[in-house]
């Protein structure tokens, strides 16, 4: 809240926050990577976090999904603090992460991989309904359903990973650098898929190394640097803020 710059006249929505992070401090071993991160994820939107290498973007994702326990701060969703909960509990609260590295089981079929996303669902008919709903969003994946996941291209595998994550109808979908390792041409189809998921009603928190493409796609943007939020606003405001260059290349005016 403290770092948030109120959206200017360009802000059209006053959406409520699905996740409110306040003063988050987290790290590995002795050092803190996140050094007091505060940000909000607007419900129904795409919030994109960008920033130079080592800014703490992936660490933030790990903290939200419970893979890394924060030392300080809160992450409140639906009145519940995610801080200190296990990844499994956080998953049950509706936060699903698509990891940065490819994570499909290559020797299993696409359909089996997608179904695995619903492994915590106890009701088989619910699983079937969810699968049908996911295939409706991504008809192309239904077409690949009998193929081995390992036979798909990198971009296709990404889409299957998205579909797998949607099996739990997440309240918040975390995407950690979905463009990682993909050629620019493929990137477009992955970004189109992100837009489709969002249009179907899922709130997304996206970490992206292609800052321009990520911010343009997003309703909200956040620039992290050195473990802190340095800029925030609508995607467009952040994209057009000249300060963003200084945050990437050094020489930023205000130093943490």
């Amino acid at each position: 809240m403290t770092e948030q710059q109120a959206g200017g006249p360009g802000t059209s929505t006053t959406a409520r926050s699905v996740l409110k992070i306040d003063g988050l401090v987290a790290g590995y071993g002795g050092g803190d990577v996140l050094r007091g991160v505060s940000l909000e994820v607007a419900e129904g939107g795409i919030t994109c976090v960008v920033g130079p290498n080592g800014a703490g973007k992936s660490t933030l994702m790990a903290a939200i999904s419970g893979l890394l326990r924060p030392r300080l701060g809160s992450m409140v969703m639906d009145g519940q603090d995610l801080a200190g909960r296990s990844p499994r509990q956080i998953l049950r609260l509706g936060v699903v992460q698509v990891p940065q590295n490819h994570s499909l089981f290559r020797d299993m079929t696409v359909r089996e991989n997608v179904e695995l996303g619903g492994y915590i669902l106890s009701d088989r008919s619910l699983t079937a309904r969810r699968l049908a709903a996911v295939f409706e969003i991504f008809p192309q994946i239904a077409g690949w359903s009998g193929q081995k996941a390992g036979s798909l291209s990198g971009g296709q595998q990404r889409l299957v990973e998205f579909a797998r994550a949607l099996m739990l109808e997440p309240q918040l979908l975390l995407l950690d650098e979905p463009s990682m390792g993909l050629a620019p041409k493929i990137l477009r189809s992955v970004f189109d898929a992100i837009r489709q998921i969002n249009a179907a009603g899922t709130t997304i928190l996206l970490v992206e190394q292609n800052a321009r493409a990520g911010l343009r796609l997003s309703t909200n943007g956040v620039v992290m640097e050195n473990g802190r939020v340095r800029l925030s606003g609508t995607g467009r405001e952040v994209l057009e803020n000249p300060e963003i260059g200084a945050l990437y290349l050094g020489g930023a005016v205000s130093s943490g």
Binding site: G54, N210, Y248
Partner: protein, 249 residues
């Protein structure tokens, strides 16, 4: 000034992926040069080509006026190019001193004494008898630096010397580099910590997709639009042609 190290139009592909594309850089003698660029831009591949760990598909590498393209790593090393490997060349089950002696295999006489001097200069002499594997991450970064000094190379290639270390250690490392540079060593440094690079280097070369997109003093490079483009990424929504040459600065 003469270029101590120079690459000319180096190409290198892995399978279908072009890692270096007409890559031409120069490092002037007596300078601290920086090599930056986004993830995957080819920085480490260029280090590997210079030091003989990867063969160039095309192009040349020169040390002073000597062509060293695709020379074997040990030969490149013997000719005076030292480099670090992001910790991978440290033997954890040997002591710090033993690690140093491994590095000095080419010159045995007085090796121990010189190794101790290097460790003192770098600031970890107190750990000479400790197993390298017991050192903290920061101490290992320092050992890595001491290790490369043993052979007294003319030019030192450092791969992320400040990666993952705390601010006071970053400053310590920067000061050691400055002192070595004042004593005549030339450096080429790959590093993501921009404050470190921009504060330390005389010249900075920026790679993107294996090609040099800018080179010059830090303050010039920092404000170059092509550098910003490299770091902030291609805007895939509006595929406009880059009006590259039209309006620089």
């Amino acid at each position: 000034m003469t270029a101590l190290l120079r690459t000319e139009g180096v190409h290198k592909a892995f399978g279908g992926v072009r890692a270096l594309d007409t890559c031409t850089i120069e490092v002037d003698e007596g300078t601290v040069a920086g090599l930056i660029g986004p993830n995957g831009s080819g920085k480490t591949t260029l280090f590997n080509v210079i030091t003989g760990y990867n063969k160039a598909d095309a192009g040349e590498v020169y040390l002073a006026d000597r062509r060293i393209t695709n020379s074997a790593p040990d030969k490149v090393f013997a000719l005076g190019i030292g480099r670090t490997f992001q910790l991978t060349r440290i033997f954890p089950s040997l002591t710090v001193m033993e690690n140093m002696l491994v590095a000095s295999q080419h010159s045995r006489t007085g090796a121990r004494k010189r190794a101790m001097e290097q460790l003192e200069f770098i600031g970890i002499a107190g750990y000479h008898a400790a197993l390298a594997g017991t050192l903290s991450y920061g101490q290992r970064k320092l050992l890595e630096l001491a290790y490369v000094l043993v052979a007294d190379p003319a030019i030192i290639l450092l791969d992320e010397p400040a990666g993952g270390v705390n601010l006071s250690l970053v400053n310590h490392i920067a000061n050691r580099i400055r002192e070595l540079n004042a004593a005549g060593k030339t450096f080429l440094i790959v590093e993501h910590n921009m404050e470190f690079v921009m504060g330390l280097c005389d010249q900075v070369t920026v790679l993107d997709s294996g090609t040099v997109v800018a080179a010059g003093p830090p303050d010039i490079v920092r404000t170059d639009r092509r550098v910003l483009d490299a770091y902030l990424g291609e805007d895939i929504e509006e595929p406009e042609d880059d009006p590259d040459s039209a309006e620089d600065e």
